[in-house]
C-alpha cells in the first residue's frame, strides 16, 4: 500500500518538479562555484580559525536569542493557550505581528526609538541590541509552537496529576515533559532563523557570520568563498534539524487541528491582572513602540508624505497580493503533497527524502538561493521562466514549502488511523479518501499554512530583490529601493502602510478562518 502511495504519479510529478525546478539549480550552482578552477582548494584555506571563531560567536548570539524567545514564548503561550486571561483572542493575533514585519524595518524603528528616548544609539547598536530586537521578532514564533503544544495536552493527564500532586509538580513533572518536543523545536527553529539573519546585525554594525558572507559576496565578489561559507551555515542548520528530528521524532508543533481533544484551562485567580499586564507590556514593547516611532516620523511633516507614500505603493498592491496568493497556494500544495504519505504511517524512503530536500533548501541563505536560481534559469531556453513572475514563485516555493509541510504534516499525524482503515475496508479509493476524509479534517491546518505563507511571501525581500523581473512593482522591493535617500517621513510612511496592510490582511484572514472553521474547536489555537 505504502509503495503504491509513494509511486502515485501525482506525488512523483510534484517530487520530480521540486527536484528539477529547485534542487538541481542549487546543486548546479554550489557544484560549479566550489569546484571550478581549483577554487575549492584555494577557498578551503581561507576557512581559517577566524572563520570558525566568528561562526562560534554567531552561534552564541543565536543561542541567546533562541533561549530567550523560547522562555518568553512559553510564558506567553501558557497565558494565551492554557488560561482564560482577558482579551486572549486579541493577543493571540496581535502578538504575532512582529513575525510578519521585515526585521530590517523593525531594527530601524528600534534604533530611532532609542535615539528619540536616550539621544544615543550605542546600546542598541551592539550584540545586546541584535539579541533584543531578534528576540522580540522571534518570540511570537516560539509562542505559537509552544502554545499549540500546550493546547494539545490531553486534559485527562493534567486532571489525573492534580488528583495526586500540586500545581508545581504538574507543571514540571507532566506539562513540561509533554511539551519538551515543542520546546526543542522552538529553540532549533529560532536558532536557525537567528543565525541566518543578516539585515539586523548589518544595520547595527555587528559582525556575525552572515555579514561576513555578505562582505565576501558584495565587497570582494568572491562568490565561491561566500558559497563555501554558506555551506558551513547550511551544514550547521541541517545538523541541528537532524538532531531535532532524531530525538523528538517529529513531535507535533504548530498544530491547528487537534480535533476532538479537550484543553484544560487554568484559573489565574489573583494573578489575572499581573498576567494581563505582562501580555499588554509585551504587546506595547514589541508592537506599539515601533508603531509609535513610525507614526511620529511619518507625520512629522504633515500628511503630504503619507499621501505620497500611498501613491508610490499603490501600483504594487495588485502584484504583491497576487504573488503572495500564488506563492501561498503553491507552498500549501507542496506541503500537503510532502505530508500526506505520513497518513496511516505509509511514509517511505522517497517521502523522507522529499522532506529532507525541503529542509536543506529552507536552510540556504536567500542571496545564495537567488544567485543559484539566476545562474540556472538565465538561459535563452528558460527565458519564459526567468523573465516573468515564475522565477519569484520558484523562490517562494524553495523558501517556504518546508514551513507548510511541517504544519500540515503535524496536523495529519493527529488524524486517527482508524478513520482511514475503516474507509480502506470499505474499498474506497485513495483519492476519494484524501478528498472526503483527510482534507476536510485538516482544513484548518491547510488554512493556517496558507495564511502564514501568504504573509511570509508578501514581505519576502532577500530572494525577491535578486529575482524580480525588470519593471515590476512589488511592495517590499519598492519600500527598500525608495528608502535610500528619501526623506525619513516618506520611508516611515511607506513602512507604516506596509505594516497596516499586513495587519489588515492578518485580521481579514483571521475572521475568514473564524467564520469558515468555527466547527473546528481549536482553529484559534
Amino acid at each position: 500500500m505504502g509503495r503504491k502511495l509513494i509511486e502515485h504519479p501525482f506525488y512523483a510529478i510534484i517530487f520530480g518538479s521540486f527536484v528539477f525546478f529547485i534542487v538541481i539549480p542549487v546543486a548546479y550552482t554550489l557544484g560549479t562555484a566550489l569546484f571550478a578552477d581549483s577554487s575549492l582548494t584555494d577557498n578551503l584555506q581561507l576557512l581559517n580559525k577566524d572563520t570558525f571563531l566568528l561562526l562560534a560567536k554567531s552561534c552564541i548570539i543565536a543561542f541567546s536569542i533562541a533561549l530567550l524567545s523560547t522562555l518568553f514564548g512559553t510564558a506567553l503561550g501558557f497565558l494565551l493557550y492554557k488560561t482564560q486571561v482577558p482579551f486572549r483572542s486579541f493577543f493571540k493575533i496581535a502578538l504575532l505581528i512582529p513575525l510578519f514585519i521585515s526585521p530590517y524595518i523593525l531594527a530601524v524603528a528600534w534604533k530611532d526609538f532609542f535615539f528619540l528616548l536616550f539621544n544615543n544609539t550605542d546600546f542598541i547598536s551592539s550584540y545586546i541590541g541584535v539579541i533584543l530586537v531578534l528576540t522580540s521578532i522571534f518570540t511570537p514564533l516560539s509562542m505559537l509552537i509552544v502554545g499549540s503544544a500546550l493546547a494539545n495536552i490531553n486534559a485527562q493527564l493534567e486532571e489525573t496529576g492534580f488528583v495526586i500532586t500540586d500545581f508545581r509538580s504538574v507543571i514540571f513533572k507532566i506539562m513540561l515533559p509533554l511539551i519538551k518536543p515543542a520546546l526543542i523545536t522552538s529553540f532549533v527553529l529560532v536558532f536557525i532563523f537567528s543565525i541566518s539573519e543578516f539585515s539586523v546585525p548589518a544595520f547595527f554594525g555587528v559582525k556575525v557570520f552572515t555579514t561576513e558572507i555578505f562582505t565576501q559576496f558584495s565587497a570582494f565578489y568572491n562568490h565561491s568563498l561566500a558559497i563555501l561559507q554558506s555551506a558551513l551555515l547550511i551544514l550547521l542548520c541541517v545538523l541541528l534539524l537532524l538532531s531535532e528530528r532524531k530525538y523528538i521524532a517529529d513531535a507535533p508543533f504548530l498544530s491547528v487541528s487537534g480535533k476532538g481533544k479537550s484543553t484544560k484551562f487554568y484559573n489565574l485567580e489573583n494573578k489575572k491582572w499581573i498576567s494581563l499586564f505582562f501580555l499588554a507590556g509585551w504587546f506595547f514593547i514589541s508592537v506599539i513602540l515601533p508603531f509609535i516611532v513610525l507614526i511620529v516620523q511619518s507625520f512629522q511633516d504633515g500628511i503630504a508624505k503619507f499621501v505620497q507614500a500611498f501613491e508610490l505603493l499603490k501600483p504594487t498592491f495588485g502584484n504583491s497580493l497576487g504573488l503572495a496568493l500564488a506563492g501561498a497556494l503553491i507552498t500549501v500544495f507542496i506541503g500537503f503533497t510532502v505530508a500526506y504519505p505520513t497518513w496511516s504511517g505509509v511514509e517511505t524512503k522517497s517521502g523522507k527524502s522529499f522532506d529532507w530536500l525541503l529542509l536543506v533548501v529552507f536552510a540556504i541563505p536567500s542571496t545564495i538561493l537567488g544567485i543559484s536560481l539566476i545562474k540556472f534559469y538565465n538561459h535563452p531556453i528558460l527565458d519564459f521562466i526567468y523573465s516573468g513572475y515564475a522565477i519569484i514563485l520558484i523562490g517562494y516555493t524553495a523558501k517556504f514549502s518546508f514551513i507548510s509541510a511541517k504544519l500540515i504534516g503535524n496536523a495529519i499525524m493527529q488524524i486517527p488511523n482508524s478513520l482511514d482503515e475503516a474507509a480502506q475496508i470499505e474499498g474506497i479509493a485513495l483519492s476519494k479518501r484524501i478528498q472526503k476524509i483527510l482534507i476536510p479534517l485538516i482544513m484548518p491546518a491547510l488554512f493556517a499554512a496558507f495564511v502564514i505563507n501568504f504573509i511570509f511571501c508578501l514581505g519576502e525581500l532577500g530572494i525577491t530583490i535578486m529575482l524580480y523581473p525588470p519593471g515590476t512593482e512589488i511592495m517590499p522591493i519598492k519600500v527598500f529601493t525608495i528608502m535610500a535617500n528619501a526623506p525619513q517621513s516618506l520611508t516611515s510612511s511607506m513602512t507604516l502602510i506596509v505594516f497596516s496592510v499586513t495587519l489588515l490582511i492578518i485580521a481579514c484572514l483571521y475572521f475568514i478562518g473564524k467564520t469558515f472553521f468555527k466547527d473546528y474547536s481549536n482553529v484559534n489555537n
Binding site: 565578489y221 496568493l325 500564488a326 497556494l329 538565465n378 529601493t481 525608495i482 528608502m483
Partner: protein, 334 residues
C-alpha cells in the same frame, strides 16, 4: 476539482502575465537611488515611447544587489544599460567583460578624465565627497577644512565615516591612497581609528547621525548632504582640501552591456542620460554637478568650476581599491 482547476489557471495567468513580448523596450539596472533615477527614466519613456524596465537597488544590500545580478547574468544578459552612481562598480564590470564600448556623440564635450579610455563607461552628473556637520555642535570656525584634520584630538569621537568596504566610501579611501601614497594613507586611517571615528553602516546613516546630532560631522556624498539641507536640517557642507589634494569627484556612469538584448534602444537611452537636459534635471533634483559646460543649474548648487577636484585616474584608483580591500576589512572590523 473545479477549485483546483481555478487555482492552477490563476497561477498560470500570473506566471505568464509578466512575460515580455514587446520589443520596443530597454532594460536598465541602476544603483542610483530610485527617488532620483525614476523621474529621469519616466521622462525618457514618455518622450520616446520606448518602455523602460528598471531594476533598482536597495540600501539594505549596500547597492550591490544589482552588480551581483549583472555578474550572475553575464552569460545571458537581460540588462541593456547599467547606470551606476559611481565609477567603481562599472570598472568591476568592465574587468569582468560584462560591458562593451559605446562612444556617445552627446558626451563629446565631457572631459576625458570622466570617461573610460575604451568607452566602456562614460561619466555625467557628478557628486562629490563632502564633510557634513551639525551647526549646533560645531561652530563655523571649528569646522575641519582638510580630511587630515579629522585625526586631530578636538574631533575625537565626533566624526563618522561609512563602512569603507562598500559604496563611495571605498572609492574615496582608494583615491586617498592614490593621491598621497600607501604609507601616508595607512597612517591617516590608523590615526582616524585612534581618534575614535564612528563607522556607520552607510552614507545615509552618516547623514542621519549628523542631522540628529548624535555625531558632530561626517564624510558623505553631496546628494545625501543636500537632501538633509532640503529637509531643513541645521547642517552645513564643506568641500575638503581645497588648499590641498582637493575633493573627490564621482560622476554617475553609464555603460552598455555586452550582448544586451536591445542595443539600439540602449544607445538611445545612453544618449539621453548623457545629455545636458538630464544633467540639468539631476542638478535640480539631487544637487548633482553637470559635467557638460553651460548647463543651467539652480543657484545653490555648486559648480565644478568652483571646486578643486582630487586629481585621480579612475581606472588606477579602482585597481588600488582591489589592492587595499583586505586592509580596509581589517581596519573596519578590528
Amino acid at each position: 476539482m473545479k477549485n483546483l482547476t481555478f487555482i492552477i489557471a490563476f497561477i498560470i495567468v500570473l506566471i505568464t502575465s509578466n512575460c515580455n513580448n514587446n520589443s520596443n523596450v530597454v532594460v536598465v539596472y541602476t544603483t542610483v537611488d530610485q527617488i532620483f533615477s525614476e523621474p529621469v527614466l519616466k521622462e525618457f519613456e514618455s518622450g520616446t515611447g520606448i518602455t523602460v524596465k528598471v531594476v533598482y537597488d536597495t540600501e539594505e544590500t549596500k547597492s550591490t544587489g544589482v552588480l551581483n545580478r549583472l555578474i550572475a547574468e553575464k552569460d545571458n544578459p537581460q540588462c541593456d544599460v547599467f547606470w551606476s552612481g559611481d565609477p567603481v562598480r562599472t570598472i568591476i564590470l568592465k574587468n569582468r567583460g560584462i560591458t562593451t564600448p559605446f562612444q556617445s556623440q552627446v558626451a563629446n564635450d565631457i572631459d576625458m578624465v570622466f570617461k573610460d579610455p575604451d568607452y566602456h563607461w562614460t561619466g555625467f552628473s557628478a557628486r562629490a565627497r563632502v564633510l557634513i556637520y551639525n551647526k549646533n555642535l560645531l561652530a563655523a570656525a571649528d569646522v575641519p577644512r582638510s580630511i587630515f584634520d579629522l585625526t586631530k584630538e578636538q574631533y575625537s569621537g565626533k566624526v563618522a565615516i561609512a563602512n569603507p568596504l562598500f559604496g563611495t566610501t571605498t572609492f574615496h579611501i582608494a583615491a586617498i591612497f592614490t593621491a598621497v601614497g600607501d604609507e601616508k594613507a595607512k597612517q591617516f586611517l590608523a590615526d582616524l581609528k585612534s581618534n575614535a571615528v564612528v563607522i556607520a553602516t552607510s552614507n545615509g546613516d552618516v547623514k542621519k547621525r549628523v542631522v540628529q546630532g548624535e555625531i558632530a560631522c561626517g564624510l558623505t556624498d553631496t546628494d545625501d548632504a543636500w537632501e538633509a539641507i532640503k529637509e531643513g536640517a541645521n547642517v552645513g557642507i564643506v568641500f575638503l582640501d581645497q588648499q590641498g589634494i582637493g575633493s573627490l569627484i564621482m560622476p554617475n556612469t553609464v555603460s552598455l552591456i555586452n550582448n544586451s538584448p536591445h542595443p539600439a534602444n540602449a544607445k538611445k537611452l545612453m544618449d539621453y542620460l548623457l545629455s545636458k537636459e538630464t544633467e540639468a534635471k539631476l542638478a535640480k533634483s539631487c544637487a548633482q554637478m553637470p559635467l557638460h559646460k553651460g548647463v543651467e543649474i539652480p543657484g545653490n548648487i555648486p559648480s565644478l568650476d568652483n571646486i578643486i577636484p582630487m586629481k585621480i585616474d579612475y581606472d588606477k584608483t579602482a585597481k588600488k581599491l582591489e589592492e587595499i580591500q583586505y586592509y580596509l576589512k581589517e581596519w573596519a572590523e578590528n
